[in-house]
Amino acid sequence: MKTVTIKLKKVPGLYLECESVTPDKFAGKSLDAIAALPCSEGKSNYKLGDWFEISGSAGATAEETKIDVYGPGTSKCKYFGAWMSAGEVVINGTADMFTGSWMTGGKLHVKGDVRSFSGLQMKGGEMLIDGRAWNYLGAAYRGDWRGMQGGLIRVKGDAGSDLGTFMNGGTIIVEGNVDIHVGTHAEGGTIIVKGKAHRRVGGQMVKGEIYVFKGCDVMMPGFKKIEEREIEVDGEKHVFNVFIGDLGERHPKSKGEVVYGHLYTLKE
């Protein structure tokens, strides 16, 4: 696993779009070829070399390439690891919007926070966020009914609103608390929230599982409690209240009986 280290020279004035900071774009390139990759701030088109000090060497293929990102202004850089399919990206600090969006594989580790629209329409791969994540984590692009299809997103801190909108598959685990609208329009996949949800959990949900350990303030009227069951979730065994939901939404039939979304809250 070859490592390329890039360090931001100065904090961008407005913001920086670094779509080219992905193992796929770095693989098999020399240092000055990497430095020639494009990045832009509004109208002005720059080269990666203008903004980043680049060292180390890139692997032959994307799997063998690891990218370490340092620097004070990473919180103003967008599209880190977007459309990456393999390899590893480690961001030591906060990353701005669209981090790891349209990701199909590989590992993305963000040591700080991640702003909105990260992990958008993810198909595979793994994303680990040590800080907090903002809104639309693992959601779908505006207007698209095919949301996140696979992969794993793990957030150690809190997450914002609209978590996993239009989700079709994959798993999102949030250790902290979550804001409104969890798993809206979900059609599959699993969302595990170890903390507390504010309101509107599982609105318009068709299929899929949502675990909210500390429950939510106001339950959706469309959810009905059916039973209490012990389930093993993310390595821990707990007894959960099981709700089926959103009864206001249209639910398909598969093999004869109707498919519902499931909402689990801890039984204390």
Binding site: Q121, Y141, D144
Partner: protein, 569 residues
């Protein structure tokens, strides 16, 4: 204006009868001429194919439902992660959208494929100002739009009482107000029934409250059309679109045209044009035993000379269906549970927009694709058969080159047919496997140039290379002697070597040279009818009581169509 001469290209033109023989085409002051002075710029077209500018008879490129489609499909500009929005040529504007392109992309892509004229298929009269604004902003290609009359309250009353001269006076007034081109009839009676959530499934279902059947509406509209000697025939989208077993309704609708004769002095020989006939030739009782009935429908069409059709072939892409047939879009939305848009227009029509994915792995979509190719291959008279995809319903117009390649190369289409997951089921349900016919370049020029020009009544100025016609000439890198096959043929049609619009070189090697060359015209028809007090009284009364817009603000003034081409009839 400069002069051009295109030397020794293989010319295919049905108007002058040239079937690929090497000849020169001369252009001066925007018109085709016999010869030019030696100061003309020479274009060497050796080993290339030369045709007139193509005409698209039926496409949804401008209007309120097209724009609702653009509004509510941002992912169409961002298709599957790779951006479908970019600035392709140095001088042109940013182009956007795959199934519903923005007006700039529409104009530039049609020019790159060598198209000179587009017919906007459905224009709600109340929104005609919006349609004309979009037509004005579409660069390069000439355009016209057909207002919809099949569900108009005035037409219901006049046709119910058989007052043909009142109906003719109303249609003439409406064409002047909306700067429209001809009579479009979508799901006659059905869209008005949809205002109460109902529909007319066959030709004899009466419309709620107005008690008129689609058969009477179609017959009345044809009579009115011939009474006014309009350049284009009635453009029909019959009832029961898209349901299995609807080929019977289609045949009933086509039979209505038997006892009518064309009556105009613009060279039109047909009385009824049935559009996107692929959607109307389905057999079977449900999606399980869904099969192709294109043979039965095309046998009837080949027998009756006064009917013309356009195919509406499926191109197996993720696209957006949009039509003035409100009830059909609601049922399609209930079928695939995707986002459903709907706009009902007061006193006039309704419309619906639903995305649809023609997935090669789904049996029904493959059969629809096969039907879309069988229809032109069964056609006996290419002059009465036009190739369209009812853009964007069956597929985006940018797929026309692939459609031509499928029709002109049997191996290219059979490879796809046999690659389907349910290939055996599809082959049993359709005729495509047995058809060996390959469309020739000459037949293609009839289907896309001379045929549409004749049906639209424009054969005097468009669709051919005879002297005096408009200088719309397309040159493709196709050598008829050793014609490319499959994907190369498709790419050759997609990027024309040269394209001249009204004598101005607009495209060279697939690159559009200027952002907005001032060559675009808007066509509309001004039908002269005697003064009719009764109709004007009805119009004033209805506008006062039932319209939400006052009569004084209904007309589309000249400011919306700066370069007009008025056809006096």
């Amino acid at each position: 204006m400069t002069e051009f001469i295109i030397k020794n290209g293989h010319v295919f033109d049905a108007v002058t009868g040239q079937k690929g023989d090497v000849a020169d085409v001369c252009m001066k002051d925007g018109k085709i001429v016999d010869k030019v002075s030696n100061s003309a710029t020479v274009i060497d077209a050796t080993g290339k194919t030369v045709m007139a500018g193509a005409l698209d008879v039926h496409t949804h490129v401008a209007g309120p439902k097209v724009n609702l489609g653009r509004w509510y499909r941002p992912e169409d500009k961002f298709r599957l992660g790779e951006r479908c929005s970019a600035k392709i040529d140095p001088k042109t504007k940013i182009e956007g959208g795959f199934s519903i392109p923005t007006v700039y992309k529409t104009g530039y892509e049609y020019a790159r494929m060598g198209f000179a004229f587009l017919m906007e298929a459905a224009m709600p009269p109340l929104y005609s100002r919006h349609t004309h604004e979009e037509i004005r902003d579409t660069p390069i290609v000439d355009e016209a739009a057909m207002p919809v009359f099949g569900n108009n309250w005035f037409m219901f009353e006049y046709l119910k009482n058989g007052e043909i001269d009142n109906a003719a006076a109303y249609v003439a007034w409406m064409l002047r107000q909306t700067k429209g081109y001809g009579i479009k009839c979508v799901n006659p009676g059905g869209s008005e029934a949809w205002a109460w959530g109902l529909n007319c499934m066959t030709v004899n279902d009466p419309v709620p409250y107005f008690e008129i059947t689609p058969k009477e509406i179609i017959a009345g509209l044809i009579t009115t059309n011939e009474e006014l000697h309009l350049p284009h025939s009635v453009h029909l989208h019959s009832n029961n679109l898209g349901n299995p077993g609807n080929f019977q309704t289609t045949l009933d609708s086509l039979k209505i045209a038997e006892d009518f004769k064309p009556n105009n002095n613009l060279g039109r020989k047909t009385v009824l044009h049935h559009t996107h006939i692929q959607f109307h030739s389905y057999g079977g009782t449900g999606w399980g035993d869904f099969e192709s009935k294109s043979k039965e429908v095309m046998d009837y069409v080949n027998k009756t000379p006064q009917i013309s059709i356009d195919t509406g072939s499926v191109t197996l892409d993720e696209t957006t269906t949009m039509t003035a047939d409100g009830p059909f879009e609601y049922h399609l939305g209930a079928l695939n549970h995707l986002k459903w848009g709907n706009v009902d227009v007061e006193l006039e029509t309704s419309s619906g927009v639903v995305p649809y994915v023609y997935d090669p792995k789904v049996k029904v979509c493959d059969i629809q694709w096969a039907i879309g190719l069988e229809v032109p291959l069964f056609a006996a008279d290419p002059m009465r058969t036009m190739i369209t995809t009812d853009h964007p319903n069956a597929g985006p117009f940018t797929r026309y080159p692939r459609l031509y390649a499928w029709l002109m190369d049997k191996k290219y289409r059979d490879d796809l047919l046999n690659s389907f997951k349910y290939a055996t089921k599809v082959i049993d349900a359709t005729y495509l496997a047995e058809i060996d016919r390959e469309i020739s370049l000459y037949e293609l020029s009839q289907m896309t140039r001379a045929g549409p020009a004749q049906v639209l009544g424009l054969s005097g100025s468009m669709g051919g290379l005879a002297p005096g016609m408009n200088a719309n000439v397309a040159v493709y890198n196709i050598n008829p002697d050793n014609m490319q096959k499959g994907i190369e043929l498709e790419n050759a049609f997609a990027k024309s070597a040269y394209f001249f619009k009204d004598g101005v070189k607009v495209v060279e090697n697939g690159v559009v040279l200027e952002a907005d060359p001032v060559v675009k015209k808007t066509y509309w028809v001004n039908a002269k009818v005697p003064e009719n007090k009764q109709v004007m009284h009805d119009i004033n009364e209805k506008f006062l009581k039932y319209y939400s817009v006052s009569l004084g603000n209904y007309e589309v003034i000249d400011h919306y169509a700066p370069h007009q081409e008025i056809i006096e009839v």
